[in-house]
């Protein structure tokens, strides 16, 4: 690899958000389409149409929806990345953007890559030509005029239907054709009848034809394999995997980003015969799931970090009672209510430390949608076999983003292993010992309803017969032996689960270490770095408890440079690895602003670390603009927008400041000024000036 290939990563960059610079993809032919608007604009439906179309054409898709915790208004930003090979993440390119309101247009127009296109309703929105990057086309859709005929036939269009016209335009410019998209429309609106289907297909066509005539394509021709792939989120994969593995009971209390498991389960309950219980709180959720587990059904519950905090006492109950139960913890931005609709990997230690005392448990972090299905299927067997609580730790990005997945990943050939269950017990065999001390540590269990096996599942520690040893009959040797029995289960369990393996070139200069959804970003970052001459491999930690400490220690102690990549502030996985293996990382890449990492950003940050460049955490010019947008939206209902940003000296503020010019949207006149500290991000002054005065 020629050394000048390093240009792939912007060499000047060492800021928090990574490079915005456009680079060629190294993996595949690809195109990324953004849709931006307000919540309630229906843009997720547009994204779905686009993604499902690609999924039917044989292309691969990874979509990411950056939304806020409000139902209407607020800024929503959806990216659909399409490729002719497996798409590992939402990427950091933008080749086409559909903007549904003025704010979105101003924010995202400047981000479009050279050769790309900005699509908007030119009847309603005005695109400031200075915001259009070089080599980018502006495609204003004169909606009223081009939809005339459709309106004549179907009556006045609802505003939301402009989205479909815009999708039609994208289909043309991204060379995706009309045929499959029309079939998606037909299926989506099948329940509404032919008239609605025809309307939507006509709208697609209007956009398609207008774009073909008025803009240039943004990609070359694809070769469509026509392999049909489902478009699935991580939560759907978890729910699907659970019922496929025989889960019969699912309890939950609504909490983003876990709620969509509940929704999927409730929507399919009768189709798959699963009893779904929305509870009064998460205490109830986990306790019900454990009760169901004791009674003998495969049970699961799900929540986010806050709900999991309420569940912790019961996790220990499942531990001491040796109850199989699966609990899904989907991480979102914390602490406390934190960022309810944003992603983070900040709950590792909460899940690890859940509940007082020591007990065997499984903690596993799936890395992709396909893996989420497979992991869920497998943990039900492990839970039954080893009689312990399993915590699947996911994150918002993994759980909520949809991607196309090979249908084979959702295999139906599932071996259900319930472990050792006693179904008959002759009285002549003497007393049934629920917690019999065995070599394997596994004590065959009986389900309530089995004759001659009566026992009590107790949260107090107990002897083999489940009689309490907590106060009246305390007995130190029994306590010691039952602790050892419980922990013996972990030895065999560790042998049964696969040890992590290095992926990528063996003789790498750098080894990236990651977990969860970040794996997809790291895999591509490693490819980018390797293509740029920095040979990079990576290690994904999936099974967290039990942990393959020996194998991980061996791999990492041989690595030349080790860098952890996590969406959190404190590098929790890196700390955990150090605790388990004694190995420290040489550097950390972290992101904790609610957004997921992106591949070029990771590649750039890794290069900075290798060069010894310190991460610059200052507020960048772009950050300053974002901060201004925030305060303008919250205080002035978007009447103003930030325009010029210049850095000024301290001026008594104790730090240099960004001076941000605020301009009236309607008139383009000066509307005020704002000053933001370069180091702290503090707002030192924020003045809206009456336009007349200037």
């Amino acid at each position: 690899m020629p050394s000048d290939a390093v240009y792939l990563i912007d060499p000047s960059h060492c800021g928090f958000r990574g490079s915005k610079r456009a680079v060629e993809g190294v993996r595949m032919q690809e195109v990324t389409i953004g849709i931006a608007g307000a919540a309630g604009d229906g843009l997720d439906k547009s994204g779905d149409t686009l993604a499902k179309t690609c999924g039917r054409l044989g292309l691969h898709v990874y979509a990411y929806n950056s939304y806020q915790s409000i139902i209407r208004g607020g800024h929503i930003w959806l990216r659909v990345r399409i490729g002719d090979k497996k798409v590992l993440n939402h990427g950091d390119n933008l080749n086409a953007v559909i903007c549904l309101n003025q704010d979105s247009l101003e924010r995202h127009a400047p981000e479009v890559n050279e050769g790309g296109v900005i699509i908007f309703n030119s009847d309603k929105l005005k695109l400031d030509p200075t915001l259009v990057p070089k080599g980018v086309q502006a495609l204003g859709l004169p909606m009223k005029e081009i939809c005339k005929e459709v309106e004549a036939e179907h009556g006045a269009l609802q505003p939301i239907m402009q989205n479909t016209v815009a999708v039609g335009a994208v289909l043309a410019l991204a060379k995706l054709g009309l045929e499959e998209a029309s079939s998606v429309m037909a299926d989506t609106f099948a329940h509404k009848g032919d008239k609605v289907i025809n309307l939507n297909v006509s709208l697609l066509k209007v956009g398609y034809e207008y774009a073909e005539k008025n803009a240039k394509a943004i990609t070359k021709d694809w070769s469509f394999s026509k392999k049909r792939r489902p478009f699935v989120t991580g939560n759907e994969a978890i729910a699907f995997g659970a019922v496929a593995a025989g889960c019969k009971f699912y309890s939950a209390y609504p909490m983003t980003p876990a709620s969509t498991i509940l929704h999927w389960m409730a929507a399919h309950a009768q189709q798959v015969d699963v009893c779904v219980k929305q509870c009064e709180d998460e205490l109830s959720v986990i306790n019900m799931a454990i009760g169901a587990g004791i009674a003998g059904v495969r049970s699961m519950c799900g929540t986010a970090g806050g709900g999991f905090a309420l569940m912790t006492e019961a996790i220990g109950m499942a531990g001491i009672m040796e109850v199989p139960v699966v609990c899904v913890e989907v991480q979102r931005g914390g602490p406390s209510t934190g960022l309810p609709t944003k992603t983070e990997q900040g709950d590792l230690f909460q899940v690890y430390g859940a509940s007082q005392g020591e007990f065997p448990k499984i903690i596993v972090a799936p890395r992709s949608v396909a893996d989420a299905y497979d992991t869920t299927v497998n943990v039900f067997n492990l839970a039954d076999k080893y009689q312990l609580p399993v915590m699947i730790i996911s994150d918002l990005l993994l759980s909520e983003h949809p991607e196309t997945v090979d249908p084979e990943a959702f295999y139906s050939d599932i071996k259900i292993d319930r472990g050792q269950v006693v179904t008959e017990w002759a009285e002549s065999k003497g007393k049934f010992k629920r917690f019999q001390f065995t070599e394997s540590g596994i004590s065959p269990r009986a389900l309530p309803g089995t004759e001659n096996c009566n026992f009590v599942s107790a949260t107090d520690d107990h002897d083999e017969e489940s009689i309490l040893i907590s106060d009246m009959f305390t007995c130190e040797p029994i306590r010691r032996k039952i602790s050892e029995k419980r922990f013996r289960k972990m030895d065999n369990l560790l042998k049964e689960i696969p040890a992590p393996k290095l992926e990528g070139p063996a003789d790498a200069d750098v080894t990236l270490v990651c977990w969860g959804s970040t794996s997809g970003v790291v895999e591509e970052a490693a490819e980018i770095l390797t293509a740029a001459g920095v040979k990079t491999n990576f290690l994904v930690l999936k099974w967290i408890v039990p942990f393959h400490a020996k194998e991980v220690q061996e791999i990492l102690s041989k690595a030349k440079k080790k860098i952890s990549v996590e969406v959190n502030f404190t590098s929790q996985m890196a700390r955990y690895i150090k605790m388990e293996t004694g190995v420290s990382m040489d550097g950390h890449v972290n992101r904790y602003d609610g957004e997921p990492l992106e591949p070029k950003e990771v590649a750039g940050r890794v290069q900075d670390i290798l060069k010894g460049k310190k991460l610059d955490l200052d507020v960048s010019e772009e950050d300053a603009k974002q901060i201004a947008y925030h305060y303008l939206r919250t205080h002035y209902a978007e009447k103003l927008r930030p325009t010029k940003v210049v850095q000024e000296s301290a001026n008594g503020h104790g730090e240099p400041v960004w001076s941000i010019e605020l301009t009236e949207r309607a008139t383009g006149k000066h509307g005020g000024k704002m000053k933001v500290g370069v180091h702290t991000g503090a707002t030192y002054s924020f003045e809206k000036e009456p336009v007349e005065a200037k």
Binding site: A244, K248, F249, C275, P407, F410, I414, T450, T459
Partner: protein, 292 residues
């Protein structure tokens, strides 16, 4: 109606003897639960006794049945999960006033609202026994306990009123000094289809020196002796408020309503635990197709 074959009370003799203080009201409750189970002919393999934590919550360890001795305040959701998983089990929840009306009261209200088909026996001693005598949600106003040395200034909760207004369909009060009646009340609860709450005066002889056996003996009377009709909702609430010189024992409220289990469609195919695991191939394919 299926004929009930009664079982002798000895059927339910537990593996160990209770370690309650001599004279504790909970002995009488245990005996009454055993009597009631026998009256209802519930085989020990089909009886699941679920409790939380407290002196009273130790009960599952002292009865021959399946048991879950869960967490403080969590007996109701644990029992709910177990019952939904296997509706063939007769589920009796046992515990204390702190467990059920304090830390676990949220669950209790919702379980009653759902009219879940389980029986809940609360050994209400108006004190936290196991933790050596602090005020409980039913401690009377003014009583001095370890945590209220100057006198409790919180009003006690009225479990009967709470149960009736929350949607319980069988609400009764018993007294462990009246074991015969108590056995019948619990048996009535087990036989009843829907949520049965039986609040039982079960004196803590060690930490509650006010609400003692003589205290109740002097005041209680039996509703059935007075021809009381428990089917009237408003009369029942009025009765539930009766306190002071005369305190009623017996079934305060009873109504027939649909249970949660009646309405859960998946249970129409039989107890979950007896259903086939996993999904048929054609359904599996449908689930994939719907995402394409």
């Amino acid at each position: 109606m299926a004929t009930v074959i009664e079982l002798p009370v000895e059927t339910y003799k537990g593996p160990v003897d209770p370690d309650w203080c001599p004279g504790c009201g909970d002995f009488g409750v245990l005996r009454s639960v055993q009597t009631a189970a026998g009256k209802c002919g519930v085989h020990p393999k089909d009886l699941l006794v679920v409790s939380g934590i407290g002196c009273s919550s130790n009960l599952p360890g002292f009865i021959h049945a399946y048991g879950i001795h869960s967490l403080h305040g969590r007996s109701v959701p644990v029992a709910t999960g177990a019952h939904l998983a296997n509706t063939d089990l007769k589920v009796v929840i046992t515990g204390g006033d702190g467990d059920g009306y304090g830390i676990g009261v949220g669950h209790l209200i919702h379980a009653m609202r759902r009219n879940l088909d389980v029986t809940y026996v609360v050994m209400d001693n108006q004190i936290y026994g196991l933790t050596t005598g602090q005020a409980s949600p039913t401690s009377a106003k003014g009583v001095k306990t370890k945590s209220t040395p100057a006198g409790n200034f919180e009003s006690p909760l009225n479990p009967l009123v709470m149960a009736i207004t929350s949607g319980a369909t069988y609400v009764a009060r018993g007294f462990s000094g009246e074991q015969k009646q108590l056995g019948e009340l619990i048996a009535g609860g087990i036989a009843h289809k829907g949520f049965a709450l039986i609040d039982v005066f079960s004196p803590c002889v060690t930490y509650n020196k006010i609400n003692t056996y003589p205290y109740f003996k002097e005041r209680v009377y039996k509703l059935e002796d007075e021809g009381y009709d428990p089917t009237n909702f408003y009369k029942a609430i009025e009765k539930a408020y009766e306190w002071g010189d005369r305190i009623p024992l017996g079934v305060v409220y009873k109504t027939e309503q649909e249970t949660y289990e009646d309405n859960e469609p998946v249970l129409k195919k039989g107890p979950l635990v007896k259903q086939k695991l996993g999904i048929p191939k054609n359904v599996h394919q449908e689930l994939i197709d719907e995402m394409i």
